[in-house]
């Protein structure tokens, strides 16, 4: 009798201990998840807080002024915002078709045994630290741009009406075009790996029906694969755009770091991230405040771009789930 009672109380205390341990563990992991949630809000708020000085002094004019004069404490965000957008757009104009080609190659064209090694090699591009892209850009790409590309662009595209102005500039090699090109190589692995993954989700049935009707490989890709995965492909492009907007070190070396508006892609310019990286550590208080506010702008823009990317990617996986 007594032994049963003892066992019973021991079981009860054991159960109680387990329950409390379970509760503690649960609190612990909930707390960790909460930190993840809060850190995103913290990131945005801390920069807005740091930029309050410039924001209250210059108000919304900050976002629409092209003047950038740290000596007189006049700051306008338009030039770095412009540079960020231009370099990212150049990057996407190169990276999107190339990534699409790579994804098609890896899912439709290449012999099966070659797909994994080539795919992994392309993904290795994403692993190379961004500062090494920057050094490569500065020491290898910039001299090549100076010697061959810039003179060629000047001669051939510089004389064209309307777009000619974009391609007129001194042969110094650094500038928005070079920065955009380095960025494009950096975002190719991200965009192509998303495209490749979603291309693989297209039901084989669909593709084979098209082949059976006599479609060529290209027609299958263009008329079957791409429409089926459209939203996710756009998501992948936006993911690449988010990367390109915030990329820092690779751009900082080759963009020229000049806060001045110019119509030519061959002239030096700057981007938000490059400007912050170059000037923040040595900046005075009010200059720091301006850079923090710029950081806030960058964060808000990338937030929305990445949010759109995620929603687009979710759409496809939800459809997958329904099936």
């Amino acid at each position: 009798m007594t032994s049963i009672a003892v066992t019973h109380t021991r079981l009860v205390t054991q159960a109680r201990r387990d329950a409390s341990a379970d509760r503690k563990f649960r609190t612990l992991v909930v707390l960790a998840a909460f930190i993840v949630l809060v850190s995103l809000i913290g990131v945005a708020f801390s920069m807005l807080w740091g930029g309050r000085e410039v924001l209250s002094e210059q108000g919304l004019g900050f976002f629409f002024s092209t003047e950038w004069n740290p000596v007189e404490n006049r700051y306008g965000a338009l030039v770095p915002i412009f540079g960020t957008l231009v370099t990212s757009v150049i990057a996407l104009m190169i990276a999107v078709p190339v990534s699409f080609g790579i994804a098609v190659y890896l899912t439709e064209v290449a012999p099966v045994w070659l797909r994994t090694p080539v795919g992994s090699a392309i993904e290795l591009l994403a692993g190379i630290p961004s500062i090494i892209y920057g050094m490569w850009g500065l020491f290898v790409l910039v001299p090549m741009m100076t010697a061959y590309v810039t003179p060629w662009l000047n001669d051939h595209l510089g004389a064209l009406p309307f777009i000619g102005e974009l391609f007129q500039g001194p042969p110094i090699g650094i500038g928005l075009l070079t920065a955009g090109f380095v960025l494009s190589i950096m975002v190719i692995p991200f965009i192509s790996s998303v495209m490749r993954e979603v291309f693989l989700t297209v039901p084989v049935r669909l593709k084979e029906s098209a082949y059976a009707l006599g479609a060529t490989r290209w027609e299958v890709v263009w008329n079957i694969v791409l429409p089926y995965t459209r939203s996710a492909v756009i998501g992948g492009v936006f993911l690449g755009l988010g990367r390109a907007l915030g990329e820092t070190m690779a751009v900082a070396y080759v963009v020229g770091n000049t806060v001045r508006f110019s119509a030519s892609l061959l002239e030096p310019g700057t981007t938000i991230a490059a400007l912050i990286a170059n000037d923040f550590a040595e900046a005075t208080d009010s200059y720091r405040s301006a850079l923090l506010l710029l950081g806030f702008v960058l964060f808000v823009v990338t937030f929305f771009i990445l949010a759109i990317a995620r929603l687009m990617l979710l759409r496809l996986s939800r459809r997958e789930g329904v099936r």
């Binding site: 387990d18 341990a21 379970d22 563990f25 649960r26 612990l28 992991v29 909930v30 960790a32 998840a33 930190i35 993840v36 949630l37 850190s39 995103l40 913290g42 990131v43 801390s46 920069m47 740091g50 190339v98 990534s99 080609g101 790579i102 190659y105 890896l106 439709e108 064209v109 090699a121 392309i122 290795l124 591009l125 692993g127 190379i128 630290p129 961004s130 500062i131 090494i132 050094m135 020491f139 190589i185 060529t216 490989r217 290209w218 263009w222 915030g246 070190m249 991230a273 912050i276 990286a277 923040f280 550590a281 850079l291 923090l292 960058l298 964060f299 990338t302 990445l306 949010a307 995620r310």
Partner: protein, 294 residues
């Protein structure tokens, strides 16, 4: 049967030829795109190797960063990077694993879980320089001590966390539900199920996540520029500025001195080698594990 071609037949022949030509062009362009990616990978690696190999010697790992025009190494920077990356993993990994556990085991498909997953995905791709600014205002500006190694480690930890949250979440969800049910039906409390059954089942995946996070932060430059700053000398003080490989590379590359450029490229070679070995290792662990589970 009839050798004389009808007009319709000729039109369809022409159409077929046109379609085949378009197909051939598209397939060639697709091969060219793959080649484009491979060429730049090879080119960048080749540049790093050819320029970096000259600077690889014993002094690189034993001497500290020199003044311009003098010989030296990157020992203090390697040490600083190791310390800050190690601390970042120590801070970020437990937090990330815990948050990933919540996502997979407690939140499931609930709305709040979706929100956290979404936020984590955004943090995963957020510009690292922005995280550096965040840690600057949070730690460097608040503490009043100025730039410090610990601030650098914290900014790296913010990069580590989303990587590990995501891999932990995904890997735990790959563990078959029967494992959970079997353990729970034996009366094992849930925390023990998670720690002793699920973590063991997903261990390879979680380790992979940690390796990938380490690979990602070891080359990070931007957030360190204004958190840990840099230090010319050997320093073990976590509360003062500390050198790191990427920041030293950044400083040396921007300089006009040839000897500094050589050191920067040597650092780049070591860094690239380290990062690529880590990601290959992560891949190997993952694929070996997959084979075993099948």
């Amino acid at each position: 049967m009839n050798p004389v071609q009808s007009p319709q037949n000729r039109t369809s022949q022409r159409l077929l030829r046109k379609r085949s030509a378009i197909n051939a062009i598209a397939m060639t362009l697709s091969c060219a795109a793959a080649l484009f990616g491979l060429v730049f990978l090879g080119w960048i690696l080749w540049t790093t190797i050819s320029k970096g190999l000259v600077g690889i010697d014993w002094a690189l790992f034993t001497q500290s960063t020199p003044p311009p025009q003098e010989s030296g190494g990157l020992a203090n920077a390697f040490f600083g990077s190791a310390i800050m990356c190690g601390l970042a993993i120590l801070m970020g990994a437990p937090l990330g694993i815990a948050a990933g556990t919540w996502l997979s085991e407690y939140a499931g498909a609930r709305r709040i879980g979706m929100v956290v997953r979404f936020v984590n995905d955004i943090l995963l791709s957020a510009p690292s320089i922005v995280l550096g600014l965040f840690v600057y205002t949070l730690v460097v500006a608040q503490m009043g001590t100025g730039f410090s190694a610990i601030a650098g480690a914290i900014s790296l930890a913010f990069i580590v966390i989303p990587v590990i949250v995501r891999t932990t979440d995904e890997m735990l969800r790959l563990v078959p539900a029967q494992m959970r049910e079997a353990a729970l039906s034996l009366g094992v409390p849930q925390w023990k199920v998670i720690v002793q059954v699920l973590y063991r089942g997903a261990s390879a995946g979680i380790v992979t996540g940690i390796l990938l996070a380490l690979a990602r932060i070891s080359g990070e430059t931007a957030p360190l520029l204004f958190t840990s700053f840099g230090n010319q000398y050997w320093s073990t003080d976590l509360a003062s500025p500390m050198a790191s490989v990427p920041v030293v590379m950044n400083q040396f590359t921007a300089s006009p001195y040839e000897s500094w450029h050589t050191l920067a490229w040597a650092g780049a070679l070591v860094l690239t080698f380290f990062v690529l070995v880590l990601s290959l290792l992560a891949r190997a662990i993952l694929s070996r594990n997959k084979v075993r589970h099948d």
